[in-house]
Symmetry: C2
Subunit: 200 residues, 2 copies
DNA sequence: AATTAATTTGACCAACTGGTAAAACTAACG
DNA sequence: CGTTAGTTTTACCAGTTGGTCAAATTAATT
């Protein structure tokens, strides 16, 4: 398929995506301009359109990458593992993602807040299925007496909400707690919360 | 001050703010246009600029209103009340806000995600102070043995994250759970979680 | 070195952007 | 009813937007 990629293509594709991520994550799709992405990437505007046929193509490429990166760890949850530790592992992974890739989180947040016009089909398709599978697994664990009886869906939402909060609302967190990295404290709180919620 | 407001002024001011809320909440400040707000409000573009001197003025009016509405319930928490019930009351109030005014929540989310360029001073000022006061109160409750020892700041963040999640990520929630109102389940989950976290 | 393929640029465009100015219209009030 | 204050519209503008095109430049291949 895309075996034939020049070193220049490789470099510029990733330069454009990096710039696009930065800009789109901050301003959303409609609030971002090709000129900004051009300036950020160091390429000229027509040059960008030589590699991506439109502004939307860049945006969609970023979203597609993001979705696969985010769904995989859900699939990696081991039904045979220790329930509490598996859920904790996933939650911590999600939090680490927020710490290391806050812009990806913000890009996604922007898209969802705006009604997910470009990925709604993924949400009601792939995402829905993956979450349904996980929810069923959690329910089984509950019924087997391995964890407390709990609404699996809202448990998942609470993990997503709390982990992404530290990326998406970073400015607010910094304003309240002062500048610095608060992810270690957040992780401790999250672990405490999940253990309390899951253990019988 | 603004005692002298015609009935027409009153009507149009609120029509513009309603339209602006709808548009800004979906597209963020930069992604929104006066033409959209004009179309949504049923007024002409120059007519809008007769009531608000610029696009930014509308946006700022909305944000200002929002911030006072959001900070008040934090101040209303009663230090003399029952700690668990006071925190629960606040959390439920916040969740109800998400249910009734999801667009306000999205407007705020957009602003924060984009780095809060227009309200950073409020965050590091009023918001920070109000939260610090609440955090101190929670700490006192902890030390008095009325609630479990807990990081007050991350407790507050978790309440914000979870309640706002149901407004800001509504599309995702609907995609996963199916269309309908899921706030009752969310409230139950939230109450369960907070009781578990707060009771000794 | 010559030829071809890949890359970059500059000039350009039509649609849209926030905002203005003045004229036309409507409501309020004595 | 006439006058004034308040409101709305029409026409407009300069800057920005996503995107095009052909020419110029550079890299790869023979």
């Amino acid at each position: 398929m895309k075996k034939t990629e020049t070193r220049i293509q490789k470099k510029n594709h990733s330069a454009i995506k990096a710039a696009g991520l930065k800009v789109f994550a901050q301003f959303g799709f409609r609030g971002s301009t090709l000129d900004q992405i051009a300036a950020e990437s160091g390429l000229s505007k027509p040059n960008i359109l030589y590699y991506f046929s439109s502004k939307e193509t860049i945006y969609e490429a970023l979203l597609a990458q993001l979705l696969t990166d985010w769904l995989q760890p859900v699939r990696d949850i081991d039904p045979a593992g220790d329930p509490v530790e598996e859920i904790l592992k996933y939650a911590k992974h999600k939090l680490k993602m927020s710490r290391l890739y806050p812009r990806e989180s913000r890009l996604y947040a922007n898209e969802i807040i705006q009604g997910a016009p470009r990925i709604k089909s993924v949400l009601t398709g792939e995402l829905r299925d993956v979450v349904a599978t996980l929810a069923q697994l959690i329910k089984n664990w509950s019924e087997a007496g391995l964890i407390r009886v709990i609404d699996p869906y809202h448990l998942i939402f609470s993990i997503w909400a709390m982990t992404q909060h530290y990326a998406d609302f970073d400015v607010q967190v910094q304003a309240v707690l002062g500048d610095g990295d608060h992810f270690d404290d957040a992780e401790q709180y999250l672990e405490d919360m999940l253990r309390r919620m899951l253990t019988v």
